[in-house]
Symmetry: D2
């Protein structure tokens, strides 16, 4: 497996690990196995059964100031109806990222800029998608006929299998958002289907924002048809409500030692994740907060909703400001710092934790020594 | 069974129903069965297997103007530390209601008035309880050490098995709320346990309102210990949020033909009912609305949160104004009317639907004829 | 509430209990409350909130030798098409049992004898039913068109809302079984509906025993329509398989201190109870076993599948032999004794535990003192 | 993405697909994007969003006669305590298979031969494993201290995170089984952890076969600690019971048009799959049966438990006899033929369907034309 490099590890000398010495006879045997679509397990065992995960992906940071310019260039250079979606794709700074079109792990992300009056043609795919709005005005998404208006720092879903198209109203402003999808996962699972709608855009069949206005929280509509799809009916989570929820939470809780005050965008019909394959969080780092380090299975992609600071990921420091994007690969130590002593910082993030949970492998570890702080590489 | 009267019904003459004619020999046989703690099934079959349910309970209405006076009298006459809880219990206008201390079905309800500085001694029971605040200021409930402040039209839980005490702050105002409990259900199920706390009141162990401030809606705390109890962590649902949720819902939906815009107080951790044995709703009747009639298994107790109107229940008209209380017994036809042509009316209600659902018998029927309206008895 | 007797209890003198002394003024107030469909809570509080449950039902035992004779008498005296079902109903030896047509708690039970060629007319009801076959040959049940053959000690379901009819094949033998239903529960919940099929018997629409032959255990049919109803598709649990399962279990486990080797008839589609409102067990008491006493919420009705012994229930000894029936009311201490030193005894039983679990009140307590044995009343 | 080849597809010319023509300016823009860890989405869109899945894996068949010889050679050449596990790994006949050490999709499989008295050292890993016994006697597995004996055509689990070791009793016979694991999945998810037990083998802490003897079917132990782990407690499914279940099912059902009489090894505690990431089936093809073709997401690896016949996979014919192994990649058409006109054939198989279901992408399609039969390539 290309992704797992078999480095000499002294632990591999013990009983329970593969430690066969090559001989001519064995080499001949291996050739024979190869001729039968087979191989000796012990030639691969230590590589395919590592002591712990070792990600193929690297922590990577994208400065919004730079990426924004590239998005505006794309707007000038390409029409959305030719591009399919006029998206600048973020590629993890690793061979795996470039080969798999992944931002981190089996997650895709890109930046999409749209001018007033532009649309992205309607389509659907097995892949799930969500979006985090970074700037603009008048943007919207239509999901299976439900028109959803979008504002700055809103988080919106376009779940697996739903028809969707996007656009910016003619009287709106140039808008930029971050897309997150599980396209690499769907491709590696060989389960990705795609279809084009029979019109450039859907005609909404419901009052605007009917889903978020019906399903916003702990009060749920009754006496109408019950929502039975396997994703959240809320569809869009408004920034003001999200921020107020975190402020409320912060009044009465110390939050997490690793993440400050972190809240999950949840499906009010189940209490679980809003989508089946990707989760999302908003977290607040109080002024001056420096969290303790931990690591876990699963990948996380961050978008700085507000504030400035840095994160230490795998021993490297990554400085960030508003709408910078960075990622934490699976099983990499990470901690966050708010560099403003008095103002809060907010980090939006999305992840593949629902996949880890569904497969029974959501595993986490705290850094116990050095007060929970990593040593930063020079 | 006292509750099921075996009236002659022409349908009982057919095959599949009991239709045995008494004889001397049979009467002797029945006596012998009786001597063996037994009886002939066919002597009871048609009574214990009715064609459809026939409630032992009657629709009943309590005028708040009158009940409020009685509550204030109780305040003068009895100290809460002598009464246990200084509650005026509502008894359904039926033998069953008086015998079972039930407001309707296996539900209990009462009105509790407290003066500033008074407390209800801390205790717990297997029965679940919830409260709807009708008037006052400075009222609070403490649930397993969590202090919860209460305002007008707020809905608050004291779930099964939780220690709880209530009171009104010394600088508060005389407060009145409606209690709802499943005491009759717990007694009929022979599962009611009671215990007294080892102090008159609990000492809160958490910041005030920590639960409602942490669990309010679709954003859920992460990175802290996960809520794992079988009831909602929200604990109190604030009137302003409830009303806003309904207003939002009403912007985009026609609501229910039977109930107008009705929303369920739900457990954001599961999407289900907030308590295991009792549910609650708030519903809005737009100005002038006259709903269609339906009937269903399960009992409902209403408290008029706002407005004036009437309900037709089992063919009888019951006029109501703010904070009047009335009930709809199981399988009784009912429809609601908002008598104000322009102002909305709001009805709070609680029910035993979670029990009906858990037992697999939540059944509903619409009145199809007469445009869905009952004929009102003169 | 008739069922809860307010006895003077010294514990009721403390803060947290009702302890108001009557006065003339109070008596006048109570009268006024009564005129408004109300009462003072403190007049009823200690009765409706007992320190612990106190069942209205008594342990009762029915000797099969006697009950069998009564069943045969019924066969002579009444035709099944007149009786609806020609059942001898078991009435708990208590006012509640006789009033509610209950064998124990909110459970119904009866004995049904049928001659070869006889049928019970097809019908359905909201109540759930199950049967335990005591003797005979050629008996069958038809459930929603599925024909199910029945042998001695088989356990068979006729779930809520399913059309069902019973009979004995023309070449069969007189057969007797025990019915268990939740009729009293359905009536007390006011959710009981009844309907008669439009023919005396259903015409089976599937191969005989198709459900038990398809769903018998850990192997489940795939590639065919998935079973989606809220009860077990197994429908009948054969005695030989049940006994073998217990024998296997007993080879490797000490079983329960209170029940010997006890196994639950489960729904292989969910792992839960076979029916939504009633559970069933088979338990084996090894030769000479004397279990420890415990008590729990929920009611249990036993049928001695094999062996002889006695049970101590609430301090009274009840001796039993094959197919005797006895019951244990909620929260009554009970222990079982196999009087045969070398042969196993088997007890079939059914209960309302699924209701207790659904309502969140399945509570159990072990008798800690006296080595877990009750003192038997003289 | 290496796995998705962007072939010219006429459908890609339409609105909704990427169809941007390269220009010098764009090429310069792409270079700039590359310098920022980014790329233009439209350069990759049609490749990473294919119209439908196109597997990187090929149908492959391994003849047991040949593979058995290779296993015996391995027995001669390598000691199990040096090999870790002395397994001949099956590699899919594709670049992906060889690179990912996969039998098909993200599944691993290998053949393991053990002589009497040999053991595989105890270890554990995040990966789940199961085994299908092909020949021998006296083989066993120990799972978290539970000793499990194994016979021909038995199916046994060693779930994720459980300590396990294998062996053949000193008085047993040379035994060969097929291992199935989700190692490639765990590695691609970067969630694979490995540990070696602190002794060569576990000392069993329970009676032999206690788990399969306690949890075999629809009767479940009660009164003992409830099984709460996220996989089946049954642990081993015996061939005789599996075969009998299928025979019973075949008496009353026509089975599936695509798979004959196919049954799922299920977890009796949940009704779901026995493991969280891999499922397994046994299916019977009646004498002479030729099934209709279908295709689905998810990969399947077959082991011929009994009989001879062929399968048409992706238009190619693969002939098989007892214990031959073959695989069907995701979304490949496939149909099965039993070449014996009168004897049944049995196919054991395992798959990654639980992953597809957990991710919401279990999708299936029937071949409608040509009577559901593929055209076989010459």
């Amino acid at each position: 497996m290309a992704s797992v490099v078999s480095k000499p590890d002294p632990r591999d000398a013990q009983l329970g690990r593969a430690r066969v010495t090559d001989t001519d006879e064995l080499r001949q045997f291996y050739a024979e196995l190869g001729a039968h679509n087979a191989d000796a397990f012990w030639n691969r065992a230590n590589a395919i059964e590592p002591w712990e995960p070792q990600s193929r992906y690297n922590p990577t940071l994208w400065k919004y100031a730079e990426m924004r310019e590239l998005c505006l260039r794309a707007v000038e250079l390409v029409r959305p109806e030719d591009a399919g979606r006029r998206v600048v794709t973020l590629l993890n700074d690793s061979d795996a990222g470039r080969a798999n079109t992944a931002v981190c792990g089996w997650l895709f992300s890109g930046l999409q800029a749209m001018r007033p009056g532009e649309i992205t043609p309607a389509h659907k795919h097995t892949a799930s998608a969500h979006r985090f709005i970074m700037e603009g005005g008048g943007a919207y998404t239509v999901v299976d006929g439900h028109h959803i208006t979008l504002g700055k720092n809103d988080y919106v879903l376009t779940p697996n299998g739903c028809w969707h198209d996007h656009g910016v109203a003619a009287d709106g402003q140039l808008s930029i958002w971050q897309d997150g999808l599980d396209i690499p996962l769907m491709n590696c699972m060989e389960s990705n289907f795609y279809a084009v709608y029979d019109a450039p855009a859907q005609t909404p069949g419901f009052p605007a924002d009917d889903l978020p206005l019906s399903y916003g929280g702990a009060m749920q509509p009754d006496g109408v048809e019950a929502w039975a799809r396997p994703f959240s009916p809320t569809m869009v989570y408004r920034w003001e409500q999200v921020r107020d929820a975190i402020w409320n939470f912060a009044k009465v809780s110390d939050g997490s030692p690793f993440d400050g005050h972190i809240m999950r965008y949840s499906n009010p019909r189940t209490g679980g994740w809003a989508l089946q394959t990707m989760g999302a969080h908003m977290q607040m780092l109080k002024g001056g907060l420096h969290t303790r380090a931990h690591r876990h299975t699963g990948n996380v992609v961050y978008n700085v909703a507000q504030g400035r600071g840095y994160s230490v990921i795998g021993g490297r420091r990554f400085d960030w400001a508003e709408h910078d994007i960075f990622c934490v690969p699976a099983w990499a130590w990470h901690e966050h710092v708010n560099l403003d002593a008095s103002e809060e910082a907010f980090l939006f993030s999305f992840n593949d934790f629902p996949v880890m949970e569904a497969l029974g492998v959501r595993i986490e570890e705290a850094l116990e020594d050095k007060d929970g702080r990593q040593q930063v590489q020079a």
